[in-house]
Subunit: 452 residues, 2 copies
């Protein structure tokens, strides 16, 4: 629990704000909110209950609204925007970076969207329309169009004088882009390089041409990999002709990296990535019932397998008592392998070239752990129930199921990936259902053969 | 599957390398490896089997060794370093950034460590000894000591001339730090600000004093939160007296963010964060058997609960057939809530101030999903088994277990957090065991009362 310090701070703040809200001390709350940076106010809103959020939002200085919207999680951002007046939205988004701007506007109902758009100035409207022309999770939607470009035939000294005249650079500027007359990207010059170069040199003499620009259509996960691969702080985005469209900065990429990494965790429990922890109960119930519904089918399938073995179950209650152990162990083992493979796929480690090796390895792990727990449980059950036949039955079933668990843990995610289905979403329930069925079949089947 | 493009590239490369290796075309492999950036070579090594890794490593140009070590996952880095000759390690780490340097040296056996240290030059040795004096996951171990500092009383023009004389800046430099004669941090000047300021201004007139430096003792997760909170590209690190020690850049922070996000995923399956997908089977078997051993105990506990109901089980095989459904549904529901709470804790959303509200909400979700699936299964079972008594039994048990699942899904992680135990590691098995037991108790208990 490394984040305890920061967390405790947030929660003592949240408690103070809640106490003040409940006590009706709105002026006090307003003052507290005003003194916090946007990130912390966003965290407060995200940690609040749905009923407290609109009240808090009313108490926030409207000048801060834009900045806070930029920081908020999508689900919560959407619900707040839906409640805002169109003119108010137009004010809040003034000066927002184009990627956030496009997101906010994209989540407005059509009628409000037109109203907001018409209340914006020409330049902003153009930026928004451009940003909205890209897919939601593309490089185009992530980029900012506010970049400084240079021609290759000017000197370092001229550039430095130009920058001094121009004044403040766009936020997060670390590089300047060099383009020709048609806006075609020729290369880049980092500020670090610019200030450490001799002033009489021409830009064409120092520019870095090996820049590997992103295309506007690339998926944001690819953008994140590109940044990690090259340890970038910012990267240019170009169109099909190589013309510069904008740039992506690492702070937006960090959000994508976190979301991608969280995606597997949430999907494996059948949850939506953007699920709001404090969503109203009815909304959560609806979202989760789909997953539970699938599990009902899986559980009924397992029960119908047991149903095939009614004979042995009606003869020996002990078999019924022990029948949950083997499926349980198989489920845990299969989910271990599955999790490893899902992470391996996400990191780009697992693919066609090594799938067979991995399958062999995980089958071997299943074999060895199968042997280990088959013997262990055979001993435990023989002592507990005083019948070595039962011990043999559970050992056989355990071994079979652990071996199959290792194989399923590799095969299921790789097959799903080939079918272009997200392994993190469907994989866990599929392998668990599989090991439940194999576990019951092998245990009840062996019991029927050996004990009846 | 957004990363498919990049992945396919990696895997067609890996396949080509493997084919060439198996064909004995070492010169060809050497040429292929040489043409790839360090990141891609690291990915190739990570995606290779344990037996292929040493061969590949031998074929890599030794000049690239350092860069590739910097990119490798820890488990694999360790195994490669252990195989290297001390002189070779000393060569590879030359010019490495101090954080990576400290890591590599820290993972060497003591005797080799001394040998490597003695073969380094004075300055490098000093940097290493300093970096090694911090805890492994601290800001001190992440930082680089290669920073450019300024005095406040010089002009922008002088600084620009100094930088031009100095030549190439340290990699990733985006800011210069302003310190007094005792190295105490006074503030920072970004390169963007420097180049856009009038040249006659003094540094003291433009410096940004509101920098919130990190302390060298802070945990890396706190560092990551600090970067996300302030959308930083780099941040200064100071000692207890406010003296500048070094700086941390965002590319190292990105690794921490990914690791932290992956931690929950891996822990919930009882896996180590750094688990190598292609580790030898015996090593994987040993690591995973601990978790499986815990699950054996949990499964035996559940079986001993069933054992208490031997009477009803020996009278009615149908009860045995249906008894796995209720525990299965409870387990899924509890893990949904648990996952949500674990993510909420990691993001800093869930704490004392809203724990009670969240408990109420999740209990309500459990109540509603309990009602829904109680009715559904009652209908299914009544039709299937032609006995409405069984329908009532499963409905009662389902409702009780779903309600308890919601409560356990909140209470377990919060209690573990209070006890300073990682909820991601222990939580999943605890809630599953709990819902298994409650599910069996309520189903078999109700069946005993109603059907006997």
């Amino acid at each position: 629990m490394p984040q305890i310090l920061e967390q405790e701070q947030t929660h003592s703040r949240l408690k103070a704000v809640n106490d003040a809200l409940n006590g009706g001390m709105f002026v006090h709350v307003r003052r507290m909110l005003h003194s916090l940076p946007a990130y912390d106010v966003a965290l407060l809103l995200e940690s609040s209950t749905p009923s407290a959020r609109p009240v808090l939002w009313q108490l926030i200085d409207p000048d801060q609204h834009g900045e806070i919207l930029e920081e908020l999680a999508e689900d919560i951002k959407d619900s707040i925007i839906r409640e805002m007046e169109p003119e108010h939205v137009a004010e809040a988004i003034e000066g927002m970076e184009s990627d956030d701007l496009a997101y906010v506007l994209g989540s407005l109902p059509e009628s409000v969207f037109q109203q907001v758009l018409s209340s914006m100035d020409e330049q902003d409207r153009h930026r928004v329309e451009q940003a909205l022309s890209y897919e939601e999770d593309s490089a185009g939607a992530m980029m900012n169009t506010d970049v400084i470009t240079l021609r290759p035939d000017v000197s370092v000294d001229v550039v430095l004088r130009y920058l001094r005249l121009r004044g403040q650079l766009p936020e997060g500027t670390d590089k300047l882009y060099v383009v020709d007359k048609q806006d075609k990207l020729l290369g880049e010059v980092s500020l670090a390089l610019l200030v450490s170069s001799q002033s009489e040199l021409e830009i064409s003499e120092i520019l870095e041409v090996d820049v590997a620009p992103l295309s506007a259509e690339q998926h944001d996960s690819e953008v994140a990999q590109h940044f990690e691969r090259h340890d970038l702080i910012s990267a240019p985005v170009v169109d099909g002709n190589g013309c510069l469209l904008g740039r992506i900065t690492v702070d937006d990429v960090v959000d994508v990296i976190r979301e991608d990494a969280e995606h597997s965790l949430m999907s494996m429990a059948g949850l939506d990535d953007e699920e709001d922890t404090f969503a109203p109960a009815l909304k959560s119930t609806k979202r989760r019932s789909v997953w539970l519904g699938l599990n009902v089918c899986a559980a009924l399938l397992a029960a119908s397998v047991s149903n095939m073995f009614e004979d042995i179950l009606s003869q020996l209650a002990t078999v019924a008592i022990l029948m949950t152990i083997v499926p349980s162990m198989g489920g845990v083992a299969a989910n271990q392998t599955l999790t490893l493979v899902i992470r391996g796929i996400a990191l780009g480690h697992v693919g066609d070239s090594n799938a067979r090796w991995l399958l062999g390895k995980e089958a071997l792990v299943g074999f060895m752990n199968g042997m280990l727990w088959a013997f262990t449980l055979a001993a435990v059950v023989t002592v507990w129930k005083g019948d070595w036949h039962l011990g043999v039955v559970i050992a056989v079933a355990m071994f079979v199921n652990m071996l199959m668990a290792g194989i399923a843990g590799v095969m299921v995610p790789l097959t799903l990936k080939r079918l272009k289905i997200d392994p993190a979403l469907a994989g866990s329930m599929m392998v668990t259902t599989f090991t439940d069925i194999i576990g019951l079949l092998s245990f009840l089947g062996t019991a029927t053969v050996m004990l009846r």
